[in-house]
């Protein structure tokens, strides 16, 4: 287990290094970041001044190493728009986003897992068909549109939920539903197919032959074996959900990392954008690593991979 953990952590570090380089070089997508920063109304002299100020005239690898050494010391640069350290800004905003993501994932799991278990136990039953319909609709539903539909229903027509902000717990209801429904279909489908293949196996027949109750067979035996891929998927979904908060937060005017991303992109606040891309990627790398470790702990066969 220890050697697996070491290998997995080394892999995550390597991945982090690679992703950080991509996040950094993103600003060169435009070709000349100085010209992009200066805007359309600028002269060549303006761009030159910016180029020297931010050191864009140095080779990209030198700039990257300079940035990286800052990042390792916890210095993510200074926001061009907010004029404060990016690290402080991120810490402030990520609490809200992480909370939202957590609620969303919990909601998705609470609905998807029981539904997937029942659908997998009784394929082609009414519940199975309903679950499939729910999943198919969820996968085709653009989250920003779903958010607006909820807003039309609950804020405009019924006026029982606030349309924006984070003032009270009610403000979190609609964003949680949107994020939860976003990751529900994949988890539900995986639970269902995992249950179907688990229920076909010999140990389930043995468990049944021993006279165990159906609930114990389903939840103690079959679900436990179907759970490993669900853990992996949920952690990946959590990463996707955080990254998808850009859309949801801008619809509901929530001051989280997602809306910060949108603001800093539209204001060409490059240091903040780079830091955000890095952080969102790190979350994904971290959560998938934790999931792999959990899997390896629960199932020794995974360690040899």
């Amino acid at each position: 287990m220890l050697s697996y953990a070491v290998r997995r952590i080394a892999m995550a570090c390597l991945l982090t290094l690679f992703v950080s380089f991509i996040a950094y070089s993103l600003i060169f997508a435009a070709g000349d970041p100085a010209a992009a920063l200066a805007g359309n109304a600028s002269t060549a002299a303006d761009a030159d001044r910016l180029r020297q100020l931010y050191g864009f005239d140095r080779p990209i690898i030198v700039q990257y190493l300079h940035w990286l050494s800052g990042v390792l010391r916890g210095d993510l640069g200074t926001s061009l728009y907010f004029d404060q350290p990016v690290a402080t800004l991120l810490l402030e905003r990520f609490t809200t986003t992480a909370r939202l993501g957590f609620f969303g994932l919990v909601l998705a799991l609470v609905i998807a897992v029981p539904l997937g278990v029942v659908a997998g136990r009784w394929p082609n039953s009414m519940v199975d068909r309903l679950a499939l319909l729910l999943a198919v609709v969820g996968q085709a539903m653009p989250s920003f549109w779903f958010a607006l539909l909820l807003m039309i229903l609950f804020s405009v027509k019924l006026s029982i939920l606030p349309a924006s902000g984070t003032a009270s717990w009610q403000s979190f209801v609609m964003p949680t539903i949107v994020l939860g429904y976003f990751s529900m279909p994949a988890i539900m489908r995986l639970t269902r197919s995992g249950m179907i293949s688990a229920l076909e196996s010999d140990y389930i027949r043995t468990a049944r032959a021993m006279g165990l109750s159906e609930a114990r067979v389903l939840f103690d035996y079959a679900l436990r074996n179907a759970a490993l891929p669900i853990i992996s998927l949920s952690s990946a979904q959590f990463g996707f959900m955080l990254a998808g908060s850009v859309v949801v937060e801008s619809v509901f005017a929530i001051h989280g990392a997602g809306s910060l991303a949108w603001e800093s992109i539209s204001r060409a606040d490059l240091p903040t954008v780079q830091a955000l891309v890095l952080c969102f990627s790190l979350f994904y790398v971290f959560f998938t690593m934790v999931a792999d470790m959990l899997n390896a702990m629960l199932d020794p066969r995974m360690r040899s991979k």
Binding site: L14, L15, F18, V19, I22, L26, I27, A29, A30, P33, A36, V136, V137, Q139, A140, M141, P142, S143, F144, W145, L148, L149, M151, I152, V156, S183, A186, R189, L190, R192, S193, I196, L233, A236, Q237, G239, F240, L242, A243, G244, V246, V247, S250, A261, W262, I265, S266, A268, V273, L276, V277, F280, S281, Y284, V285, T288
Partner: protein, 298 residues
């Protein structure tokens, strides 16, 4: 989201034509998907003939006309007009062109990248596979919406930029599925036979591997098309996708957002079309997977 599609290799050739036609027709989801896509494609191709108005023609006196089923609506503007008095039905029809162009363009670009990576990783294995898997994992770690927004904002928004950006981001599923299938094919008898006959690597990939990947490619391409269309709408909704005044459905929803209190149909109508198109494309993809692989149903 990253559901792995694996259809069993070469099965469609074995199946008799007649029974496969029956299987196509009896698959409800597939037929519904085809029907929806047929309607949207027709709308897109014949937009200039079918649309009652110029989609860019503004008419302030008739702005915010409700659709025909609301009081105050009429048949001159069956789906009403927007905040500039532009005919909503005409904009919807031209908007179908944008969604389909993005969907197809992105699927082609990402399909080429993903297939190249997947075939190399699956065929050569070993170190090549490890390096390519590392790149795929790195790509999965990148936040797609954020990176796409940043690139479009820096490069400048246009239909082509959005298409290429999404194409360069969405190749992960292609790569994973094609890699898995190539590994399967690599150990099959006909590839071994070709190797023994002294065929070169390029010949084997071109003649033996690629033709057998076609089924999976079509399935992943449809699912990826749906993904790209949703993302384009989201980017345009955030104001950093297809630029105004193009009638992108996502952009139309964004413009309708300010009228959420009194004209909610400006949000619901383009959303229904977007939802239906994505649903239809997904159903087609899922259906094709079922039909092409008799044993591939979950």
């Amino acid at each position: 989201m990253t559901e792995v599609v694996a259809t069993s290799v070469g099965s469609s050739q074995v199946t008799a034509n007649r029974s496969s036609l029956l299987r196509w027709l009896s698959h409800g989801g597939l037929m519904l998907g085809l029907l929806i896509l047929f309607i949207v494609v027709t709308m897109a191709i014949f937009a200039s003939l079918l649309a009652p108005y110029d989609p860019y023609l503004q008419s302030l006196p008739t702005r915010f006309t409700p659709p025909v089923w609301f009081p105050g609506g009429g048949w001159e503007h069956p789906l009403g007009t927007d905040h500039l008095g532009r005919d909503y039905l005409s904009r919807i029809m031209y908007g179908a062109q944008i969604s389909l162009a993005i969907g197809i363009g992105t699927a082609v670009v990402s399909g080429i990248i993903g297939t190249a990576i997947g075939v190399c990783a699956g065929y050569f294995g070993g170190k090549v596979d490890s390096i390519l898997m590392f790149i795929i994992t790195a790509r999965l770690a990148m936040p797609v919406v954020l990176v796409a927004l940043a690139v479009v904002a820096l490069v400048g928004s246009s239909l082509t930029v959005v298409m290429l950006t999404l194409g360069f981001l969405l190749w992960d599923r292609f790569a994973l599925v094609i890699r898995a299938t190539t590994i399967q094919l690599r150990s099959s008898e006909f590839v071994t036979a070709a190797e023994l006959q002294g065929a070169s690597v390029l010949q084997i990939i071109g003649h033996e591997i690629l033709p057998n990947l076609l089924n999976n490619l079509v399935v992943v391409a449809t699912l990826e098309m749906a993904q790209a269309m949703i993302l384009e709408a989201a980017l345009s909704f955030l104001g950093l996708g297809v630029p105004a005044p193009l009638p992108s459905w996502g952009l139309m929803i964004s413009e309708g957002k300010d009228s959420i209190l009194f004209e909610p149909w400006l949000i619901t109508i383009p959303g229904v079309f977007l939802f239906a198109l994505v649903l239809g494309t997904n159903l087609l993809g899922d259906g094709l997977r079922d039909v092409m692989s008799p044993n591939g149903r979950n």
